[in-house]
């Protein structure tokens, strides 16, 4: 068995135990997935405090539902879906209670861990991109993050954001166009 298969096997074991009500096993899953769930939450809501609440709530929802988790998808994929749904519930709740104040969360220094094969290249290139992402409206950012970062299909995006597939495609088109303009602005100006 490769190390990935071992990890998957161990994770399945934890999921199974958690499904039988084993809190310690579930805590191990939370520990293993906390950073990716938190990162996705930050990318969705662009607010660290709110992202913390979203991540916490997502894990609690997962605990409530884990006995029904069949293992058709990977646990991380399942957690991503729960996190996206939770993010949108929290966002809607916040919109009802206060005016949006999107901070410049992507400009804050972040602790990063990189897979060895993608290494420093991504780190060096990601800063202007993060800047450009902050400038996108939330509805566009959510779609482009889910499609191009997390590789969700249009159908999955539409389903989770409660929009039509056409709307998801239109938002993706606008988001990419906007990012392209921002990232190559200087080059375009020099060319004209």
């Amino acid at each position: 068995m490769s190390s990935l298969e071992v990890e998957r096997y161990e994770e399945n074991e934890l999921v199974e135990r958690a499904g039988r009500g084993d809190q310690a096993a579930f805590t191990e899953l939370v520990r293993a997935h906390q950073h990716e769930v938190y990162t996705l939450a930050v990318r969705m809501v662009a607010d660290r405090e709110l992202a913390y609440d979203v991540a916490q709530e997502a894990f609690v929802r997962a605990w409530r539902a884990i006995e029904r988790f069949r293992g058709d998808a990977k646990f991380s994929t399942w957690m991503h879906r729960i996190t996206v749904n939770t993010a949108f519930t929290h966002r809607d709740r916040r919109k009802r209670t206060q005016v949006d104040s999107l901070d410049d969360i992507y400009r804050e220094p972040v602790s990063v861990s990189l897979s060895p094969e993608r290494g420093g290249e991504s780190a060096a290139m990601s800063e202007p991109l993060r800047e450009a992402l902050t400038e996108l409206p939330e509805s566009l950012r959510a779609v482009v993050v889910l499609k191009d970062v997390y590789e969700w299909s249009h159908t999955e995006i539409a389903e989770h954001l409660d929009i039509s597939v056409t709307a998801a495609k239109v938002r993706l088109h606008r988001a990419r166009k906007s990012l392209r303009i921002t990232l190559w602005k200087h080059q375009d100006e020099e060319g004209t």
Binding site: Q23, F26, T27, V30, R31, Q34, H35, E36, V37, Y38, T39, V42, Y52, A55, Q56, F59, V60, W63, R64, V110, S111, V112, S113, L114, S115, R118, E121, S122, A123, M125, S126, L129, R130, V144, V145, D148, V149, Y150, E151, K169, L172, H173, R174, R176, K177, L179, R180, L183, W184
Partner: protein, 120 residues
Amino acid sequence: MSTMCTVVRLRLPGVDSVDELGERLAGHVGTCLTCQAEAARYRTLRHRLGGLADLTMTAPTTLVPSVVIRIENEDLEETGDRRAVVRRAAIAVSAAAGAAVAATAGTIIVIGLRRAHDAA
């Protein structure tokens, strides 16, 4: 810039590869350096966005303990150990009752002392 170039520019943000533009437009991109450059920009953009998947922010250290506390409480309240919930509630009630008794006793003593003082 030709009409074909304009159409390619309009459609590029919505596709994942030039092939999705259809035979005619993809053929044009194959021969047009301007469109090839534009297609390369979108390819780079998608590549960079994909690279973000490997950049993970560190969650606050309190996240895991906060989740554990919440699920422990949920389990106590919703699924199972009603006795533990009752015990916890009883402790809270007795603490509050104890405080109330102490406050009342204190008040009675103070009143008693005042009366004794007035009588003297």
